[in-house]
Each structure stands twice: as structure tokens, then as C-alpha cells.
């Protein structure tokens, strides 16, 4: 398991060194610095030296390194490092060199608990007062080992509210000829729960419950039975979903109900993937002509493919230019375009892009002559955008029910947003 956790800044200075096993010697910090940080050849997050493995993740301006001996569970190691980053973020707002300052709970290299909320109880900014200690700490230990380790028991709110955000990232890869090579959606449902007591939530989506693919219903659960309900028009097919640890996976598997006792505050309820019938919010048509060796002509048109009452914000289109571009002249029908020499890009920004519209950019790049002519590799052009009240997969939240002993009424809010994932168009 994990022998030690190290945190370095970009210069290779060791900020935190926590050894969990005796085989994690201080000199390993130097080894990592020499082999990874100051080695420009490194192209992998994993390095094994003898029997010692360094697994690292870079975040902002720090390296988080896990040291392990033997054939450790790599998934666990990386997942833990990600959690460390998340934790850091939720503690300090931003997890970078300055913010690195705290201790996390790890025992003999076995991760124990990484739910932010629970840890906030352990690691408080003021010291624990002696008289409080008795009662409180037994509560803490109960929670740390209990079945619902992510939630405190005594939460109270005057106003019980739950916010659900459905956030989708659309990935697109379109070929130069305009065929869609790949289009899929990575969705995420974030919940902010401000609910008293121990509420049990049930959550329903318009998904088609078609995880099993075709005919063979398989011996697991009664999938075949629930299939009858899928017929409703406007349902979507989710390729796969993953849930926060609070969701009762057994129930989901058997009768497709998403039921859970939420942690307090914000958490990732579920993530899903959809590949069928993806609604692409933008269609891009790019014509790029290389005229001799001294000029490239761009004609890029972007069309929005969503209801006209909606509008996308912060639309940014990045159009790569050849490395030897000297000057670019451009005109647009909407927004502003600018050539950024350091990125080799024309950046075209449209702050507000309404539905059912088309905008065009015309540009001409003058090239300097080069002694060795190497073909331009033509990286794909990419799009950034965010679009509210739209889901590319068509997913909708059908209901969210909250059951609690106290039987209070709660207010539920749902928001939808679609953003770009890697939205790339080749030309």
C-alpha cells in the first residue's frame, strides 16, 4: 500500500513528507526530484525504481506523489491523490503551493476516510476543548466507522432545500469532411443538499434503463421487467452511470431506483455517459485553403443548433494557424477575433450566441518563408461554450423525493447546463 505521500512545488522543494511505513526513507524525496521533476524526458505518471514506485499527479503548481512498494493497487493510489486534491480545494478554496498545510488521515498507507464533510469535524481550526471532547469524539468515532460515514446525525436547517445541477460536457470529434467521428456526453449530477435529519432521497431520470444492450436480459435482477416502462417517448439511453458512495448500488442494480442518504452540502451524486442521439449545440463548417507557401485562407462558419430563445455564453473558437504565420487579417459577422502568436491561434470570442443563428469568420494568414518546408500538421479547431437549460443527451430529472422522519416539506431546484468537453473539428 501507500508508503508515503509527498508534496513538492515546481522547483522540486519538498513541502510535505509523510511516511506511513518504515520503508519510506527521506532520501526518496531526492530520488523523485532527480528522476521526475528535473527530468524533461518523463512522459508517464508512474515510475518504478527497483521495487519502489512513484505515482504522481500534477495540480496547479504542485506535484502530489505517492510512494509505494511492491505491486500496489494503482487505481487506489491515483484515486486517493485525486481525493487529496479535492480535499485541499474544499479546505483552502484552491490547492496549490501556498495552500499546502494540513494533515490528512491515512493509516499505515491505507486510506481511511476522504469525505470532506467528515474530515472537517476532525480537523478543526481551533483546538478541541476538553469538556466537549468526550461527547464529541465518540460521535466522531461512531461516524468514522459507521455505515453512513459521510453524514453527521444532527443536521438542522430552518429551510430545507436541495439543488440539483445537471452538468453535461459534450465531446465531439468531427472529421475534415464533416462526418462525426465521435460524439458523446459526459454528464455529472451535482447536488447541494441542505436538509435536516437523515433524509432519504429518491431520484428519477428519463433514462431508458438500457444498460444491458440488446435482447439477452441476463440473469441479474429483473431488468427485463422494467424494460416495459422504457417505451415513453423522449427517454434517453445512458451508456453507463457511476454513483457517489451514498447511493445504494444494490437497489439500483435490482430495480433501477436511485436512492440515497445525501451527505450535507455539495457532492457529486452521479456521473454518466451517453453516446446515442447526442444533440450537438454547434455545427462548424471550416474551409481552409493553403495558397502557395505564403498564404492561408480561413472561412469558418458556426451555426447554433438549439432553440432560439436560449443563448450560449462565452463562446470561444480557437482556429490554429501555421507556425510561421506572420500576420493575420480577419473579419467576423459577430464577436471579436484576434490572432495570438504565442498560441498559434486565431481566437474568436462571441459573448452571447443565440439559438438558430449562424456567424462567419473570414481570415487570411500571411506566412513568412522558411528554409525547410515541413507540411503543416493542421491541429483541429476547438470550441468552448456554456449553455444553460440545455442537455446534449436530452436527459431530464423527472423527480426528486425526500423522505424524512420529521416529514418536513422541502424545496427542490433543478438546473441544466451544457459545456464543451473536447469539442474538436478537423479541417
Amino acid at each position: 500500500m501507500i508508503s508515503g505521500i509527498l508534496i513538492f512545488n515546481q522547483k522540486g522543494e519538498n513541502l510535505i513528507f509523510r511516511a506511513y511505513r518504515t520503508d519510506c526513507r527521506p532520501r526518496l524525496a531526492d530520488v523523485f526530484r532527480i528522476q521526475v521533476i528535473s527530468n524533461p524526458q518523463v512522459r508517464s505518471p508512474i515510475l518504478t525504481l527497483g521495487s519502489t514506485t512513484f505515482s504522481h499527479v500534477k495540480h496547479e503548481n504542485i506535484y502530489l506523489v505517492a510512494i509505494s512498494k511492491g505491486n500496489a493497487n494503482a487505481a487506489l493510489v491515483f484515486e486517493f491523490l485525486y481525493r487529496l486534491i479535492q480535499l485541499g480545494k474544499s479546505y483552502f478554496g484552491k490547492f496549490d503551493e501556498e495552500a499546502v498545510k494540513n494533515n490528512f488521515v491515512l493509516d499505515f498507507g491505507y486510506p481511511q476516510n476522504t469525505e470532506t464533510d467528515t474530515l472537517k469535524m476532525y480537523i478543526t481550526t481551533e483546538g478541541v476543548k476538553t469538556e466537549r471532547t468526550m461527547e464529541d469524539s465518540s460521535k466522531i468515532t461512531m461516524q468514522a466507522t459507521g455505515a453512513i460515514s459521510w453524514r453527521r446525525a444532527d443536521i438542522k436547517y430552518r429551510k430545507n432545500e436541495a439543488f440539483v445541477d445537471v452538468i453535461e460536457e459534450v465531446n465531439l470529434l468531427m472529421s475534415a469532411t464533416g462526418t462525426v467521428l465521435r460524439a458523446d456526453v459526459n454528464g455529472q449530477i451535482v447536488m447541494r443538499a441542505y436538509l435536516s435529519g437523515t433524509p432519504e432521497c429518491k431520484f428519477g431520470l428519463n433514462d431508458r434503463l438500457l444498460l444491458d444492450g440488446d435482447s439477452a436480459a441476463g440473469p441479474v435482477g429483473n431488468v427485463a421487467g422494467t424494460k416495459a416502462t422504457k417505451a415513453a417517448a423522449g427517454s434517453v439511453t445512458l451508456e453507463d452511470c457511476q454513483f457517489h458512495q451514498c447511493v445504494k448500488l444494490g437497489r439500483f442494480e435490482s430495480d433501477r431506483v436511485i436512492s440515497f442518504i445525501p451527505p450535507d452540502g455539495e457532492f457529486d451524486l452521479m456521473r454518466y455517459r451517453a453516446t446515442e442521439n447526442v444533440n450537438l449545440p454547434f455545427k462548424v463548417h471550416a474551409i481552409v485553403n493553403e495558397i502557395g507557401k505564403s498564404k492561408v485562407n480561413f472561412s469558418i462558419s458556426v451555426r447554433s443548433n438549439f432553440a432560439s430563445k436560449l443563448f450560449a455564453t462565452n463562446v470561444v473558437i480557437r482556429i490554429p494557424t501555421p507556425l510561421n504565420t506572420a500576420k493575420v487579417t480577419e473579419t467576423t459577422t459577430q464577436g471579436r477575433a484576434k490572432y495570438e502568436p504565442e498560441q498559434n491561434n486565431i481566437v474568436w470570442k462571441i459573448n452571447r450566441f443565440s439559438g438558430q443563428q449562424e456567424h462567419v469568420l473570414q481570415a487570411e494568414a500571411d506566412l513568412t518563408s522558411m528554409t525547410t518546408h515541413k507540411a503543416w500538421s493542421r491541429p483541429p479547431l476547438s470550441l468552448n461554450f456554456s449553455l444553460l437549460m440545455f442537455t446534449a443527451s436530452g436527459l431530464l430529472v423527472r423527480y426528486l423525493k425526500v423522505f424524512e422522519k420529521a416529514n418536513y416539506s422541502s424545496i427542490r431546484w433543478v438546473r441544466y447546463a451544457t459545456r464543451n468537453g473536447s469539442y474538436e473539428i478537423r479541417f
Binding site: T48, V57, A144, S149, P219, Q242
Partner: protein
């Protein structure tokens, strides 16, 4: 603690000042606020390896008895850090710790236990055993959980001492604890002990397995991982046991923690070995696929891991992932290690049905910036021509298009794969030789040169100026690496056999060089062999040298069955990143194998793992009736052997070689590194760039 102002604590402190601060804090210090700040400074200095701090040890021991969790934590951190260096001072802290083990606050008990067991000093270990026995029965589950892991820690410190006590038995009985977290910690501890022990066997019977699967939903995500790992020690005794368990853990595949998902995949694939029902197997396979793909939405490191494991799963259970190759198409901004692995998967999943899509995609990759990646893409195109016969024509078209870019490394890579295509489909695509000959000058890598020379020799009678071309290469014969020299020797002989008039000047010259002016035994032996052959029996020589070559396949890159089987028992671990036998990367790790049981589907496994395509191609030797003597056959086989010798030699010489562009790559720093220590060289494993990455796209 969260404030950004803590950064100033990282200033280098002076021991005397810090000691003053600690002592002066004295009575007026409310809530020990001043002491805490000082301690923070000390800990910060300690982390920066300011070893002066060690002189503060006695002062720190004095602070330990202060009843404040925060102060205790910092003092204990200090203690753990320096106890190894100053065991005699550390001993003074022992009474405080032992007292804390009896504290009424469970958090303090657990903290003390955790601290005491971190200290690798004999007295500490000995003194812990007594209280630890009591604490395994503590009323508070948090303390019991800590106690379970402490037992594994003590085992690490002193296994002889521990084996004399009943602690491991106690650990065993903790599996029956009512609290799921305690059970999962006990399991993690047992697995840890098992991994390091020669004597202790860990097997879980069905009822225990069933029980721990039942508490699975009530455990934290990490606890779930430990339980799933422990399930690998359970050996199903019947097919129905295995099926039932597999179905019960399936819901874990929807967990958001990727270690739960991958470990679950590992267990399911393991259990499949014991399941007789084919229908169930294929249903399980179908369920494994989506979660693996979903991991591609995680951070790049997890993506990489998932992809490496996908390569593994795909070889063992081809039904998994056989859906859509497009999910593996690269994004432009993927890190290079992700891209290269995706490329391998694309190659593996390519079939007659999707070849057009795949080729368009590969062609795109072949124009990217990263040289290593581009080469792999080109190589993949060539190998697809060999793998999928109906696509050969398209692949070659694609390669020619790439050759016309005149980018040196693309041309070289293409030359190598085209040579292989010629070997696979003789007398079909030779019309493209002229295109290749236009680019002779850009060849500077040995593998590409050898490939081009092979083509010239093999088709000497169709290339008008073959003698001139060959002579050009021969110009630098003495400076070439042996791989190229061998190719030159064979090609010259071939030229002579096919066009005696053109070759007669070159042959004696080259034979003389090869036999008299070299130190390399392989080159010399081959030279002599040709010499004798040509001088005794020219007709026989022709039959031998120009004889049929063994068939080449694209499947040779697969893992051998034993390794594959072992890797599947290690899904999600570091070894899967390297795709190498675990023992080769981590020498001291216990090997895992499939245990025999009445339910083990031996025959099926054999059949699945040893599919015909997985075996090494056996050279097909054609008996020729014209001069069908047995020596002739042997000679043909020998020739066949020599055809391969260069490549094979390379492979043997550096088993962990990256396969292509060896000479160029090996010269870059950080390529193949060895850290010399006193006893034996420590090998560096670094996927992608370095050796041992299990790259599949090599011939």
C-alpha cells in the same frame, strides 16, 4: 490552519529561538495558542529537512502531555520523524503514549496507538503488544479499526515477536466484528501480513466471502476496495458459488471510485475462471465493458490505467469492449501516454468492419507532432495490412501517401512496415518499390536501412539498378551496425543469384569483408555459409536463399498465456501499467495463481488463452521435390532463421527494448537508465519512453 498566512511558518527557524518560544509560552498562554504556532514552525522546519530541529526533542517530549489533540498530533509527528535517530529520547515519550492508550477519549486512544506503532524501536513494539490485545476488543469501533491496522504494522516491525502472540488470531476473529469498517480494516491488515509472510496462508471460505460481500455496501469506498481485494483469496468450490458471488458484487461497477471499479473488474474476471455457464460469462462480459469506458472520463492518470487494463481484458476476454472502437479515438490534448495506449487499443480492435474509420484516424495521428506517437501510428497502419488481408490495399495506399510527405522518420517507419507487407503478400504489391527507392537518402536508422536492403535483395531482378543501389549502401559497410551488415550480406548474395552478371563484382568483396574483416561471429558464420554454398552448389544455393519465407502474422505481440493469466489476477495494480510479469517488475512480490478447485474450468481456460493465433508462428518449411534431400530442407530452415536473425537478435539482446528506432531512441538521455547501487543494478521501469512498457506495436 487553513489560512494562507501559514506560509510564513516555512521560514527557516533557529533552534534557540524556537526553544525560547516554547518555554516562554508558559502559563499566560491561553489555549496554548503560542505553543501551537511554535510547534507549527518546528514541524514546517522538520519537513524542510532542517535537521537542527532534532535538538528540540526533549522539549517536545515535555509538551506531549498537554491535553490538546492538536498539540499531541504535532508532537507525535515530530516523535515519529526523529525516533529512529534518537531512540533513547524517544523512550521518554513512551510512558505518555502508554497512558494515552487508556485515555477516556477514543480519538486520543486511537491516535496514541497509531503513533506508538509507527515507531520502529524495540521497546515500543514490545510494550504495545499488551495494550493492543485489549484494544482489539475496545468498545469503540474507531479504536478497534486502528488496532487492526496496528497489528499489520507490528508485523512489519517484528514478525517473530508477533507470531509468538495471539494477535493474528485476534485479527482473524475481528472478521466477525459487527462494524463493517472494522472488518474491512482487519481484512486489509490480513492481506498486508499475508503479502509479507512465508508461513501464513490466507484463504477465505464461501461463508466468509458471502458475509463480507454482504457488508460491502456499508463500507466506505476504501473499505470496499480492501474487501474486494480480499475476495481474490477465495477459491470457489462450485460454479454456482462463483456465479452467485460475481452477481452480488456487480453493482460495485457503478461506484464513482475507480479503485472500487477496477478491483471489482479484477474479481469478476477471476471468478469467471470458475464459472461453467457460458451464457452467464457472456452476460458478465457485457457488463464489464461500460464501466471500463467510463473511467476514460476521469483524470488522465486513471484513464491511462484503465486503458492499460483494457488491453489486458481484451486479450483474456475478447467479448468485453468489442463494441465501438471510436471511444478510443484520441483527443488532441490527451497526454502522450494516454494517446499511445489508445493507439494500441485501436489497433487491437480494428476489424474488417471498421477498418475505414480506423485508417482515417490513424492517418490523422501520423501527421501529429510527437515523433514517438507518429511512428507508432505508421507502424500500426502497416501491421493492419498484415492483420486484415482485405484492408491491405487501403493500408498501402495510406502508407504511400505518408511516404510522400518526405518526413524522414515517417519514411523510415513506413519502409520497415512495407518490408513486412511484402513478406506477408509476396508478388502482389511490388509495383510500389519505385516509390520507396526515391527516398533512399532519408534512411539513416539501421532498422529502416536493413528493411530497404532486404527489399532490394529480394527483388533484385525487378529493380533495374539494384546493383547500383546496393553498392551505394555497401560504401559504408564497415561503419554499419551488425543488423545492417547482415542484411547487406544476404542482399548481395541474393543479387548474385538472381542476376549473376551484375552481382559478380560485389559478392567476393562482401564475402571477404564478412568473413575476414569482422569481429562479429554471426556475420562471419553467415558469410562462410554463403561462401561454401555458392562455391559447392549454386543451384542448391538458389533454392535455399530464395526459398519460401515463413509466414509472418500480426499477432505475435500478444502476451504469453502464463503472463496473461497472471496479469488478470492483478488488474488495477502497477504491474498492469507495464504489462510485464509481476515478478519481473517487483521481485519480492508473492506470485498469484489460479488455485485448483473442482469448479476451475481448466479446459475452457486452456482453449481461451491458447487460441491458435497466440502461439509463435512455426516456420512452415516447404519440402521441395526437385532436390528434396533432407539437408536441403535444413538449409532452407537455416536461411529462414537467418532472415530473422537480425531482428530476433535485437529482441533478445534487449528484452525490454522499445522495439523500434532502438538506436536513435537509445541515445537520448533518460532512455534506458540504470541506477547502480552496491549490490545489483536497480532497474528503472518507466512506461512509454523507457523499457519494459509492454508496447504491443513492435515486430
Amino acid at each position: 490552519m487553513a489560512s494562507g498566512g501559514d506560509a510564513k511558518l516555512f521560514a527557516r527557524g533557529k533552534v534557540t529561538e524556537l526553544r525560547q518560544e516554547l518555554v516562554n509560552a508558559g502559563k499566560k498562554d491561553k489555549n496554548h495558542a503560542a505553543k501551537k504556532i511554535t510547534l507549527k514552525k518546528i514541524v514546517a522546519n522538520m519537513t524542510m529537512s532542517n535537521n537542527d530541529m532534532i535538538t528540540l526533542f526533549p522539549d517536545i517530549v515535555n509538551c506531549m502531555s498537554i491535553q490538546s489533540l492538536e498539540i499531541k498530533k504535532m508532537c507525535f509527528l515530530f516523535l515519529v520523524n526523529y525516533a529512529r535517530v534518537k531512540p533513547e529520547i524517544a523512550l521518554k515519550a513512551l510512558p505518555v503514549l502508554l497512558q494515552d492508550l487508556d485515555d477516556s477519549n477514543p480519538l486520543i486512544r486511537a491516535l496514541a496507538l497509531r503513533t506508538i506503532s509507527y515507531i520502529h524501536v524495540r521497546e515500543f513494539v514490545e510494550q504495545t503488544v499488551g495494550p493492543l490485545r485489549r484494544l482489539t476488543k475496545d468498545g469503540d469501533p474507531y479504536v478497534r479499526k486502528t488496532a487492526a491496522i496496528t497489528i499489520a504494522k507490528l508485523y512489519d516491525h517484528d514478525r517473530v515477536l508477533l507470531e509468538k502472540t495471539d494477535l493474528i488470531d485476534r485479527l482473524n476473529s475481528m472478521m466477525r466484528d459487527e462494524n463493517p469498517t472494522v472488518v474491512s480494516s482487519a481484512l486489509a491488515a490480513l492481506m498486508d501480513i499475508w503479502e509479507r509472510s512465508e508461513t501464513i496462508q490466507l484463504t477465505i471460505d464461501y461463508s466468509t466471502a458471502s458475509k463480507i460481500v454482504q457488508i460491502l455496501p456499508d463500507c466506505s469506498e476504501w473499505g470496499q476496495t480492501y474487501i474486494l481485494e480480499a475476495l481474490m483469496t477465495y477459491v470457489p468450490q462450485s460454479s454456482s458459488e462463483a456465479s452467485l458471488l460475481a452477481e452480488r458484487i456487480l453493482p460495485r461497477l457503478s461506484h464513482s471510485n475507480s479503485s472500487v471499479v477496477l478491483t471489482c473488474v479484477r474479481v469478476v474476471i477471476y471468478l469467471m475462471n470458475y464459472i461453467a455457464d457460458d451464457k452467464l460469462i457472456s452476460s458478465l462480459c457485457r457488463k464489464l465493458s461500460p464501466p471500463l469506458v467510463t473511467l476514460l472520463a476521469k483524470g488522465p492518470e486513471i484513464q491511462y490505467l484503465a486503458l492499460r487494463n483494457a488491453i489486458l481484458v481484451l486479450q483474456r476476454r475478447p467479448d468485453v469492449l468489442r463494441n465501438d472502437v471510436r471511444v478510443f479515438f484520441c483527443k488532441y490534448n490527451d497526454p502522450i501516454y494516454v494517446k499511445v495506449t489508445k493507439l494500441e487499443l485501436i489497433f487491437m480492435l480494428a476489424s474488417e468492419h471498421n477498418i475505414q474509420k480506423v485508417l482515417t484516424e490513424l492517418k490523422e495521428y501520423a501527421t501529429e507532432i510527437d515523433v514517438h506517437f507518429v511512428r507508432k501510428a505508421v507502424r500500426a497502419i502497416g501491421k493492419l495490412a498484415i492483420k486484415i488481408e482485405s484492408a491491405a490495399e487501403d493500408c498501402i495506399g495510406c502508407l504511400l501517401e505518408l511516404v510522400s510527405t518526405k518526413v524522414s522518420y515517417i519514411v523510415q517507419e513506413a519502409t520497415v512496415v512495407i518490408r513486412n507487407i511484402f513478406r506477408k503478400y509476396p508478388n502482389r504489391y511490388e509495383s510500389i518499390i519505385s516509390t520507396l527507392c526515391e527516398n533512399l537518402d532519408s534512411l539513416d536508422e539501421p532498422e529502416a536501412k536493413a528493411a530497404m536492403i532486404w527489399i532490394i535483395g529480394q527483388y533484385a531482378d525487378r529493380i533495374d539498378n539494384s546493383d547500383v543501389l546496393l553498392d551505394d549502401f555497401l560504401y559504408a559497410f564497415h561503419d554499419e551496425p551488425v543488423e545492417v551488415q547482415l542484411a547487406l550480406l544476404t542482399a548481395t548474395v541474393k543479387l548474385f543469384i538472381q542476376r549473376p552478371t551484375k552481382g559478380q563484382e560485389l559478392v567476393p568483396k562482401v564475402l571477404k569483408w564478412a568473413t575476414e574483416e569482422t569481429d562479429n561471429p554471426d556475420l562471419r558464420d553467415r558469410g562462410y555459409m554463403y561462401w561454401r554454398l555458392l562455391s559447392t552448389d549454386p543451384a542448391g544455393a538458389k533454392a535455399i536463399v530464395m526459398g519460401d519465407k515463413p509466414v509472418i502474422t500480426a499477432e505475435s505481440e500478444r502476451l504469453d498465456p502464463v503472463t496473461l493469466q497472471e496479469m488478470c489476477l492483478n488488474i488495477g495494480t502497477l504491474a498492469t501499467v507495464y504489462l510485464k510479469p509481476v515478478q519481473q517488475v517487483f521481485r519480492s512480490v508473492k506470485p498469484r495463481k489460479l488455485h485448483a478447485s473442482p469448479a476451475l474450468q481448466k479446459q475452457k481456460i486452456e482453449a481461451e488463452v491458447n487460441t491458435p493465433s497466440m502461439q509463435m508462428p512455426i516456420p512452415a518449411i516447404n519440402f521441395k521435390n526437385t532436390n528434396g534431400t533432407s539437408t536441403d530442407t535444413a538449409a532452407a530452415a537455416a536461411d529462414a532463421y537467418f532472415q530473422n536473425v537480425a531482428t530476433r537478435q535485437l529482441q533478445e539482446m534487449n528484452i525490454n527494448g522499445d522495439g523500434f528506432g532502438d538506436s536513435t531512441m537509445a541515445s537520448t538521455p533518460g532512455e534506458r537508465q540504470y541506477v547502480v547501487n552496491q549490490h545489483n543494478p536497480t532497474q528503472i521501469y518507466q512506461p512509454q519512453v523507457g523499457p519494459g512498457n509492454g508496447d504491443l506495436l513492435e515486430l
